[in-house]
């Protein structure tokens, strides 16, 4: 029924390269998530307890990250910063864009998590003579992490999906690499179909790993 002849051979020839590019995708997404969790935690705490310009800054970060397209954010770190003579490498553009976005979304998750912990937990910890730092690292944050565990997993999936925007700023992660091969052979559909499957597999692996990790991490 089709006039079109599918040619899968070149795709399979390049499959090892695509898998290698998948690792780049995972790498940049994971890195963005690690930075995003740390920054997001900070943003949430500032929004909850900070005041003045710092609080304003944190709020702006969160709202900009959540209310503009991820691609816009990537463009900003791409040619937006170029206006100030700051030219990031494609890798850094994607990393910065993803980190900015993830931190913003995670900050809101963390904020909700902190608000879900009764204030009395902090009081109880403090009444035992723990410092504020000890109370947070030993009592509050472990509980918050449990609450935000699923949102963090979802955000990790989003980070992987979002990293595909790298192909629009010249970064050779999975999508960028696919585009490179596809434009070389004109087998666009075949290449992107295989890449879609690879993304699907990556996402499933992340979800599975997260579920396995959860049974290890959460004993209660």
């Amino acid at each position: 029924m089709f006039d079109y002849n599918f040619h899968w051979r070149p795709v399979f020839r390049d499959l090892p390269d695509l898998i290698a590019a998948s690792l780049v995708t995972l790498q940049v997404a994971s890195l963005a998530m690690i930075l995003g969790v740390i920054i997001g935690l900070g943003l949430a705490l500032i929004r909850l307890h900070g005041r003045g310009p710092l609080r304003w800054l944190a709020t702006s970060w969160v709202e900009l990250a959540r209310n503009t397209p991820a691609l816009f954010q990537l463009f900003f770190f791409g040619f937006g910063l170029g206006a100030f003579g700051l030219h990031l490498s494609p890798f850094l553009i994607v990393l910065a864009g993803l980190t900015f976005n993830c931190a913003g979304y995670l900050a809101e998750n963390f904020r909700g998590g902190f608000q879900a912990i009764p204030e009395t937990q902090l009081r109880a910890a403090r009444s035992l003579g723990m410092t504020v730092w000890q109370s947070y690292t030993r009592i509050i944050i472990p509980q918050v992490l449990r609450i935000v565990y699923h949102p963090i997993t979802n955000q990790m999936v989003w980070a992987v999906l979002m990293s595909s925007l790298g192909m629009l700023v010249g970064f050779r992660e999975l999508s960028g690499e696919t585009q490179f091969f596809a434009s070389r052979t004109f087998r666009i559909f075949e290449y992107f179909a295989v890449t879609a499957i690879l993304y699907y597999i990556i996402v499933k692996i992340i979800l599975l790993a997260s579920r396995l990790l959860a049974t290890r991490l959460f004993r209660y």
């Binding site: 009764p118 009395t120 937990q121 009081r123 109880a124 910890a125 403090r126 009444s127 035992l128 003579g129 723990m130 410092t131 000890q134 030993r138 009592i139 472990p142 509980q143 449990r146 004993r219 209660y220």
Partner: protein
């Protein structure tokens, strides 16, 4: 000795404590009674600096609790506190709940802390629940866990903030028994409570709070028998 003098505490416009004077000596058990909102719980929070104060002073063994240079974390080790909401740490087992603070605050080794914790849990009758998570414990058990957790810091004083108010009626007894046990062992205690039976039987003195003022204080026989203040009598006639 805990000495509270001319203590004032405000939450915004709300004047919660209006000049409280109270001295609790070593080995004494003082029950604090009064209507909700009369400032009883706030007094406890001010004693271990969980709330800042507006005027007056609180000293514990001669150390000014609210002075700038005071190491409050050091001081709080002397003051065990048990809350109305038992506040067990849900992510830790019973043993870890109790062992955590001795380890990270008192600097005990892991093993020492576990030994102390196990001992205190046995003390409050939870010797068979060491590895249970709070979610598997009843309210009464969680409250006893909270008592063990405070005791593991080897406090000189115990502050009880309505320790039985949030419990189902059938669970109140086990917690009161544990508190009674501590009193018999000679622990110095300040108990904010609605349990008049406990206040009468266990306390050396009973303090009646009314609208931010320490209206009357005296031995249980006085407060429950021949109270001097009209307000005290009125309150007691209502709760009984």
């Amino acid at each position: 000795m805990i000495e509270v003098s001319n203590l004032h505490k405000k939450f915004g416009d709300l004047h919660v404590l209006k000049g409280i004077d109270l001295t609790v000596s070593k080995g004494e058990v003082v029950s604090v009674i009064g209507a909700s909102g009369s400032g009883k719980s706030t007094l406890l929070y001010c004693i271990n600096a969980l709330e800042p104060i507006n005027e007056g002073s609180v000293t514990v063994d001669g150390v000014d609790v609210h002075a700038k240079g005071t190491d409050i974390n050091q001081l709080r080790q002397k003051l065990g506190m048990v809350f109305q909401q038992w506040n067990s740490f849900p992510h830790l087992t019973a043993l870890e709940n109790v062992a955590l603070a001795p380890r990270i605050v008192r600097g005990m080794s892991k093993r020492e802390a576990r030994d102390v914790a196990a001992e205190q849990l046995k003390h409050v009758g939870l010797g068979d629940k060491l590895e249970s998570f709070p979610s598997a414990l009843s309210g009464g058990q969680q409250q006893r866990l909270a008592i063990a957790r405070a005791l593991a810091m080897e406090p000189q004083y115990m502050l009880f903030d309505e320790a039985t108010s949030a419990l189902d009626p059938e669970l109140v007894g086990e917690v009161l028994d544990t508190m009674r046990l501590l009193a018999e062992e000679g622990m110095t205690m300040i108990c904010v409570t609605h349990e008049m039976g406990f206040a009468r039987d266990v306390s050396d003195r009973v303090a009646f709070f009314n609208d931010g003022i320490l209206e009357e204080i005296g031995p249980p026989s006085q407060i429950f028998g021949k109270a001097e203040s009209e307000n005290t009598r009125k309150f007691l006639s209502k709760v009984r």
